[in-house]
Symmetry: D2
Subunit: 420 residues, 4 copies
């Protein structure tokens, strides 16, 4: 998941701003300075860096650019906390973010307080353009909240002691769901993309017509129980079900189960921010790559939905419902409740069969924020729906998340589709 682009209309940011800024601190509240500083792989960033980078975003694009006389909290820090904005100049190498033991976590918290105060004080006088950037910054920070949790999970998974940051969720056991049902769609011309009021990232626009063949999508995501059956049936040993790149990737990396899984067909466990625990057979499978998702779909005699199919199918679902992030905690996907109405939001992000490419008529924004999404439109696949680690309120049907097909440290799963 990369970052974000300006919305056409700015909503009521002070409330959203304060809520979002508070949640980031809450997510990091249990972390030691070291927990928040170490980087476990080039794809991941330290929690401290997330806290600082999201703050740098407001400081740079709102305060520096729109508040006369604003003085940078520390003029040396933009070099540290710019992520990838070429237009903002040179920056610290992405794979060296874990070397920054100073500033400390407490100093970064002070940076946050300083910038929060400045934004709120400036708010009454901010021009609309700047208010839109505040709103953009909030949605940007929500993306980083999810990354903060998944990056932390990856970090703690590297520790042989497998520490738990939070106690395990207390969930009533749920029966393993029966076979998924198919939601049928007759095809034809439909519209996708963001077109109305409310915030959206640039890559969701413009809303446009697409022509669909008749199709069906499952009414729920694939579960851990179903995934265990795929493993038991030799799914990871059957090249005929795999894309060539996926097969090479799985061989080179000895991939034989979802990330964080250990065990055998009898008793799988998985690691998360509540430590290592038995895999819940009723929960949606998470931490799989696009390659694995595609191979599973082939094994199941189905396919992945396109992003257009997904969006059309999800159009009537409630984006505020489902298993999303409401506060600090391990944020592992909850089991699928039998008999529940079909849900498309939360749980796990769902890999689609669509490469992340621009919509017809797509335009990037002017200025540095134009680098948010457009420049990532190669080598990635679209994911839809959101996960148990997505802050509630952040999602919508037109939302396009994207990752390279071999990535699996995000909360990623799949939903099956088929031709009619």
């Amino acid at each position: 998941m990369a970052e974000v682009a300006p919305a056409p209309h700015a909503a009521s940011p002070p409330t959203l701003f304060q809520k979002v800024r508070r949640l980031s601190l809450e997510l990091a509240a249990h972390l030691s300075d070291a927990d928040a500083t170490v980087q476990s792989m080039p794809d991941a960033s330290p929690a401290k860096w997330h806290l600082a980078h999201t703050t740098w975003f407001f400081e740079t694009f709102v305060l520096r650019d729109h508040v006369p006389g604003y003085q940078l909290h520390d003029p040396r820090w933009p070099f540290l906390f710019n992520s990838y904005y070429e237009a903002e100049g040179e920056r610290h190498a992405r794979d060296r973010r874990g070397m920054i033991t100073r500033p400390t976590l407490d100093e970064v918290r002070a940076y946050r307080a300083h910038v929060d105060h400045a934004v709120l004080r400036a708010w009454p006088d901010l021009p609309d353009e700047a208010r839109a950037l505040v709103e953009l910054g909030c949605h940007h920070e929500q993306q980083h909240q999810e990354l903060l949790l998944t990056d932390l999970t990856h970090l703690f998974a590297q520790n042989p002691l497998e520490p738990a940051v939070w106690p395990a969720s207390t969930r009533a056991p749920v029966a393993v769901p029966g076979p998924a049902n198919w939601i049928e769609h007759g095809g034809g011309v439909a519209e996708i993309g963001h077109g109305g009021a409310g915030f959206a990232f640039d890559c969701e626009t413009p809303r446009h017509a697409v022509l669909l063949q008749p199709f069906a999508v499952a009414d729920r995501a694939v579960t851990n129980a179903e995934w265990a059956a795929f493993i038991a049936d030799g799914g990871y040993d059957s090249p005929g079900h795999w894309l060539a790149d996926g097969w090479a990737w799985a061989r080179a990396n000895a991939v034989r189960a979802p990330l964080y899984w250990e065990g055998d067909g009898e008793g799988w466990t998985s690691f998360a921010l509540d430590g290592r625990r038995p895999v819940d057979p009723a929960a949606p499978v998470a931490h799989i790559s696009f390659y694995e998702a595609d191979a599973y779909a082939s094994w199941a005699g189905a396919r992945l939905p396109t992003e257009a199919e997904w969006e059309v199918a999800a159009a009537g679902a409630d984006p505020l419902g489902g298993d999303q992030l409401d506060g600090p905690g391990p944020a592992t996907p909850a089991p699928v409740r039998p008999g529940a109405r079909p849900g498309f939001f939360g749980g796990t992000w769902e890999w689609t069969g669509s490469a992340f490419r621009p919509y017809p008529g797509f335009r990037t924004a002017a200025g540095a924020v134009g680098e948010y999404n457009g420049k990532f439109m190669s080598g990635q696949f679209v994911l839809r729906g959101g996960s148990s680690a997505s802050p509630r309120g952040h999602l919508r049907a037109s939302y396009r998340n994207f990752f390279a097909p071999d990535k699996r440290w995000q909360v990623t799963g799949l939903r099956l589709a088929r031709d009619r």
Copy 2:
């Protein structure tokens, strides 16, 4: 460009078969045993390997599977000359194909003669299914003829002496063309994909309807003169025009001009199978990656066409016309003739903005030949049109070639498109 899948109906193969088999030998006629044996990079294969692999294809899928009592020419060779068919078992590592100094080029020629003889003798008795595989094998071999030329070019480019295999084409100088014209299209529902009689690869099917927004495409490819202007204007130094992966790739590999180019803005030369020669400003630019094509389009205020746009625009053009391969020779793209009718075939393959993914309703063939195209449907972009190194008769409007976005040793260029 990967390989091929079975056609619904087999045409008259003995004629095509004999013609195709002869051309491969002619293309390799000037090569020494060493020229035909060395592998210059993992992506490329030795000429001898191409000659043998295409023969293995006929021996395996036609003779072994459909001719009772056929004895393999050498039972140890399938291990050497299987390319990537998992269903055919273990095989020699792709990046070690250049280690095979024995069998010699002459022994491979004898292998070809043996298999040719057996196919032609068996032909009268071959069932339809086998005849379809012979036809498939011919189109497969035509693909390898183009690869043989581009792989050879890459090999000789590694030699500091830059040897010429053939003398330079004698071409009358042509005036540099003026600005391209736009071919306008009103959008709406159109059909793409292969649907009629005649041969096509599996990935071109099924023919299906698509919905297009109004668009325009240029009536010719981008020329070397235009590309030199892009360079002179700092196109390779402007991150704002590049995809993030492309920018990283260009920096990591110090890419500052098309592959094989040397010089500066004043006087570029390029290497081909006729040696190093001045770049012809009127010829289409070749040997660029998708990343470079995409950056150029951004710099030019345009974009790449989608493959559907390209196919719809090219629907009326003659796939047998244009600058294609008619026999042995350096096969460099000819200059664009001013005033010529718009052509879409030959010259250079044209990068489109479409990721190589399955068409709605796509099905792979049963058996090992089902591995031809479907398993390569990730990480690649579609190219359309064909090149000066494509054997004439091999191309059609629905043809989908594909390569990863950083590859540029093929004869690859671009044509601009824009929204209306």
Copy 3:
């Protein structure tokens, strides 16, 4: 510098033990949890790991093996804090030591207190063998004290802010020394190696006779001023002065000055634990590789001394004198005082021309501690003398330090030698 082997006779450890254990804590007193946790490269270890590993050494080889009923502080920690002792079983990967955010620095301090208490309580009843291991553990920990400082320097150098842990040393300016003088030696049979009472590592034994040709060594190390002259004279651009491996290494890594130096011939600065400061022309050059030292010696018309020459020349010098570590601080080499008596200890370790190989008759110790030095006797060169970061009391004339020829994050310099 690897680790250590048992001494023939154990001295009075409680005093040494308490002094050594205290210094480690003092060196780490200014560090945050993050400072102490991050690993900057595979060669370096986190400060927290040094504090824990040295404690594990006492817990394992003294308490576990020699104190009946001792319970491990945490039975999961030996996996984390074993360095390289194969006989002690599986262990955490060396290049992943920086992933261990938990246990925290405070928890490691508690581990130290627990083990210190147990050792001191057990001391009266410890058998001689265990007392010898306590002494060995103290010398082992002194080695890690030096590594802790050099590893920290490397870590802070990765931070673009270049933080200072300590204020700069307040040193009176010293005149740049004139040319070094030569200490002549007539050659002949001499003895080297440790042979008397007192502690030594296994690799320093047995004491044995060597035959030397007449030689001379300089009476001081090469200074920063002399090194700047080497740079200014094109020393880094003259392959004729370099070993082939060294030239390839310098080209591949763009090495053009000692590690941590920045600037040009006019004004060099260097980074250390007191931040970035001007290079002192009168101080010995530090942070150079063997390859650089060897090239410098060639450029100067001299050579590196062999370790036997060095030891014979240093035999009469005081190993307690010179510029060594007496307490927490940046530990940068002090300038050479003009007119001082020739010193061989402290300042910088001095690369010799001797590969680290066993002395005639060398035997490794029995048990896990036998892995200390012997198994590192390939691919490394011997350094002699000790540095400003070596705890005073740790050095002696027979001491053999060793590193691979491309390493330069230690406080390493050189002294010239020549044939007579």
Copy 4:
């Protein structure tokens, strides 16, 4: 094995010159153009390159520098065929030598004839210095003859067909020898190095006194039968016998037997230029690294000899005797004949425990030929004695061959030593 440096006195080169030049052609007589062109790894060179490089040596240092009016055969070829002489300017990258399909093998043969003719015609008028360079060139070419054979072996081993260049040697079976006997030496001052008349490389000088402790060396090399016992006893699984670098190397490369061996403890086979054949238990083990040799010696309760011990022990042996190369053929080591007098020459090169470092008083030659040996004096271990692939007449007791400790494509074995 790197290259060579000028000898003090030139012998009678025309005879040696003609003999050496002829043997190179004979060794390559069976090769196809492709066999002679392909490079199997960066350490190895194509046979064609060996034939050309040795010719370039005479053309450059004799003809160009000492024959007025000599015209280079092709002025573009020195760039291709300079190996590593920085003083001779830029050159083709070592790991790209296999890309040079042109000039062809026949063209290189013509180059050889041209240079041979010019050298012989110029001989009567050559100054002594040039005659010494002709002699040096002959010894240089003999080194490359051995490399040509070992590089070819490596190349053919990459081919799954494992072709045989020559038929197998016809050798009468020999009984497996009993335990080796120890040759005792009382130690004391001895002299090593080249000091008399006759040719030697620079690194063998100056002759100088060394002081030896009493020692013993075995009267023969370790056999394949003994090596198989080491494997069967778990030698490759016992870290306690291995140097740390060696253990890491063996794990990373899955080394469990000598290079080219296949099978199990019951029935080992090995590949050579006569194809894959059963390992002869009575022959000396070959194609082992220094790391393996050192581990074996530890397992056997012994050690490797130092190069001084080896040279002193071999001083009385006949360097023209033993199993050396007399003409074209597979050049595999012959079995040790029971009851034979102790031999030190031929069979396999023997790893010593000595790092390759300069002798006291060593000086490199002036000019480009000074780059022969001195610049390789880091990271390598000395081998002594010569092999079945060393041209007879090329060896002597003072000869110092050297390779990095992980290399094993040369004909390398070991002889045990011990302290007395």
